[in-house]
């Protein structure tokens, strides 16, 4: 788990840096990675070339840089609408066409950016080596595509072909020279003009497709086109599907779309709310046990040396705004205080006649924490509790109100709600089918001191069952929206997608996922509450536009706290 969490962290860091580079290179502010795919705003961008999806296991940081730079060049130099209108539909021709267009923009890299040029070359060489090592190269079709890619890129950019494979492609290169020669020569001439270049590119794509049909003898290769994931399992994929969702072994929350919910035009249903409860979590735990938990929690916080004062300072800087707050009298400089003039007459030596305006940082803000109390969180809950307890304390020191909420279900497998549904004769599309249980550990009006014990109830992992995130986020947002504070933040701590077996079975697998996404989109649009996702060893960017993956395998230290502060400060990904 630890390595997986560390990988998730690394991945997020790399993506942040790459996205920042892309944003700066093409000057577009709303580009960011979500679920390993570059998005513009809410929309995913297509994959621009087969070599632009480095893998986190095999490729180095330089490859990611190269891919980022290549994407930035594509966004700057290629007219998307024109490209789409010319793009051939069938996978092979599209693969060639996309690749050629990508080579064109890479050839347009400005000459006074040596680092960028090196990154591009490095990425392409890495991709070539991976291709070379894969089984695909042994098939005639694979070799043909490889050769076309090598030769075309060398022609367009004027860089030599990869030396290591020069011998390998020699024969194929000679074979295609006659057919593709004219078009290849045209590529370099017309690289400044996308439309003219596309004519040559389409000609090449057509020839290559014809040649592939001629050598259609390769079961392995056909398999690769038909089933890209199978090829992916073998460690290398040509990525024929440029619009596919990237599926990787890395812990990324990958949401699907729900057919049932889509068919119902977004009307999320709840079968019954009769068994839903909202409880103070402390009432579910014996007092003696609570005291015990609290003691253990305090011991942990002391052991980990968490610096609450420093965190409070950081939060104050972040959330508080300097506000005029009356006057300081008795100053030696500033504005003259009229009331003190008589004093000047009486004792001319008196110099403290001035007053200055006092500015005080005031945080007109409330922060809510919403903890996913599903079964899988059990293993992380001790660390999460430490973290949120420290945060609640620091927020209070910074003068910020805070709420600590949780969500789970009352039972496994649907409980009474599912029983009612069965009794009603299992009507189709029942909607959410479980007893939702919303837990309040601390509300905004209770101080940390009073809520100390109640917070410890988080450690009682027996309460944890399943998770229905969408409704919980709605509930937490509604609670925060009812407050008077001007700024409201909600931090959702979760380790996965929404999970409820009964709902999943009765509707479809992604019913709750989609609802969560809809809720988040709605809330983002209204902007009443800023929502942040904290993924425990998981990249939640597919759901939350502002998210962080935290590595909680080791006890959370000041670093984890700082990362959450950074996330609120809005650095890196948005």
């Amino acid at each position: 788990m630890s390595t997986a969490q560390a990988t998730a962290r690394r991945q997020q860091r790399v993506e942040e840096l790459c996205a920042a580079s892309i944003r700066a290179l093409c000057g577009e502010a709303d580009l960011h990675f979500r679920a390993r795919r570059l998005h513009r705003g809410q929309r995913a961008l297509p994959l621009f070339g087969p070599h632009l999806q480095p893998s986190f296991e095999d490729d180095d940081f330089g490859s990611f840089r190269g891919a980022a730079d290549a994407i930035a060049l594509r966004l700057t130099h290629s007219e998307g609408v024109l490209h789409r209108s010319l793009c051939p539909p069938d996978p092979v021709r599209r693969w060639v066409f996309e690749s050629l267009e990508q080579f064109r923009v890479e050839a347009l890299a400005p000459s006074d950016w040596p680092g960028l040029a090196r990154n591009l070359r490095h990425r392409f060489e890495q991709w070539s080596c991976t291709f070379h090592r894969s089984a695909l190269i042994d098939s005639a079709s694979g070799l043909l595509l490889y050769t076309v890619a090598q030769v075309a890129r060398a022609r367009v950019t004027g860089q030599p072909v990869l030396e290591a494979t020069e011998g390998l492609i020699e024969v194929t290169r000679g074979g295609i020279a006659a057919t593709l020669g004219t078009a290849l020569a045209g590529l370099r001439h017309e690289r400044e003009d996308q439309a003219a270049y596309a004519r040559h590119a389409l000609a090449i794509a057509g020839h290559v497709a014809a040649m592939l049909r001629a050598v259609e003898d390769d079961a392995a290769f056909d398999g690769a086109i038909d089933d890209d994931t199978a090829a992916h399992d073998r460690g290398f994929s040509l990525l024929f599907d440029f619009d596919a969702v990237v599926d990787d072994d890395l812990p990324t929350a990958t949401p699907g779309t729900s057919r049932v919910l889509e068919a119902a035009v977004g009307a999320y249903r709840v079968f019954t709310t009769a068994h839903d409860v909202e409880v103070k979590a402390a009432t579910r735990v014996r007092a003696a046990l609570l005291a015990e938990y609290r003691e253990a929690l305090d011991r942990r916080i002391v052991e980990q040396g968490l610096n609450v004062a420093r965190l409070a300072r950081q939060l104050r800087v972040l959330l508080a705004v300097p506000t005029r707050d009356g006057w300081d009298d008795d100053q030696e400089t500033g504005c003259i205080d009229g009331r003190r003039l008589s004093q000047l007459v009486v004792s001319p030596a008196e110099r403290r006649l001035f007053r200055t305006e006092r500015q005080r940082p005031v945080a007109n803000c409330v922060v809510g924490f919403l903890i996913d109390c599903s079964g899988s969180m059990k293993q992380h809950i001790a660390a999460v509790t430490v973290l949120v307890d420290v945060f609640v304390r620091a927020l209070e020191e910074a003068g910020v109100a805070s709420e600590l909420l949780g969500f789970t279900t009352g039972a496994w497998n649907g409980g009474q709600a599912a029983r009612d549904w069965r009794r009603a004769g299992r009507p189709p599309h029942p909607g959410r089918l479980n007893e939702v249980c919303h837990l309040v550990f601390k509300d905004a009006d209770t101080s940390w001191r009073r809520a100390r014990r109640d917070i410890a109830a988080l450690m009682k992992a027996d309460l944890f069952r399943e998770g229905i995130d969408g409704e919980a986020v709605e509930w937490a947002c509604a609670r925060l929206a009812a407050r008077d504070e001007a700024r409201r933040l909600l931090i959702v701590v979760s380790d996965g997608c929404p999970m409820d077996t009964a709902t999943g079975l009765a509707n479809d697998a992604h019913y709750l996922d989609q609802h969560l996404r809809e809720v988040l989109r709605r809330q983002e649009q209204t902007g009443e509450v800023e929502i942040y996702g904290v993924g425990v060893g998981l990249d939640l960017s597919a759901f939350y536009s502002r998210s962080r993956a935290l590595d909680l395998a080791e006890p959370p230290g000041n670093k984890a706290c700082f990362e959450i502060v950074e996330m609120i400060a809005g650095r890196g990904r948005r």
Partner: protein, 328 residues
Amino acid sequence: MADISLTQPDCVLSVREVFGIDTSLQVPAFTERDDHVPDVDPVYRFNPAVTMAILAGFMRDRRVMVQGLHGTGKSTHIEQVAARLNWPCVRINLDGHISRLDLVGKDAVVLRDGQQVTTFQEGIVPWALQRPVALIFDEYDAGRPDVMFVIQRILERDGKMTLMDQNRVLRPHPCFRLFATANTVGLGNLNGMYHGAQRLNHAQIDRWNIVASLNYLPADEEVAIVLARVPGKAGEAGRALVRSMVAVAELTRKGFAAGDLSTLMSPRTVITWAENCEIFRDPVVAFRLSFLNKCDEAERPIVAEYFQRCFDLELDESFERVAVDRPA
């Protein structure tokens, strides 16, 4: 303050010759240089649009405000135009502590014939109003909006100024000109970069006849400016280096616009960097000292990425280095 002997512009200059802008415009100027005329900077490069706006201010008596990000040379721009026209020029830096009395004038105790007498001493605004002076309010948006109402009346072209302390109405000198520079357009500190910028009164903003925006220049222009300032980089290698520097600066500006950075490199920073390169003989060290150390620690890896793109060199803060150094 020493008085000004000049009264009226006594010659005309061709804009094409003096400023290198392709127009047949003629602009009135003085032949004699007064003490208040700023020194001419021979290598200063004029931005055509902003220069035309400022010249309109001088020629047609328009109130011109120049707005732009820091380090773009807003105030210098006005000064250099005035210097070419030999037009006397007084520059005031506004801040939150400038009061009405500083601007209008106040009663002060002075010695006259050995006697202490109280007499009214004019502030800078009435003084300038009666002379052929271009008055520049620098950092106009730092002045307190309630105080700035003092100049409300004189913002109008024929606006006379009433000195209530003296029961006197001042008629502006026909060659009095008023300019202002500001980082914001009076909406306050929106991006968190200009602390202390006030929200201005829009009735007042409205009275400025021309608002010129001076933002960062195209890369070639900026390279030329840096090379003009730092002649040591004039060679082929130096020029390539300056191109890369300007490229880094552009990335930081776009990064700032995208919200990735909270600091950006102004043309002034690039010039400082080039100058520091002359001192330290190493662009990386000079970059660290001129810009990187001003950045927030959390943002330095992003700056390192920009730097790698333009120089093909790794900074110590680069993720590449950090990731390698860290034990697996």
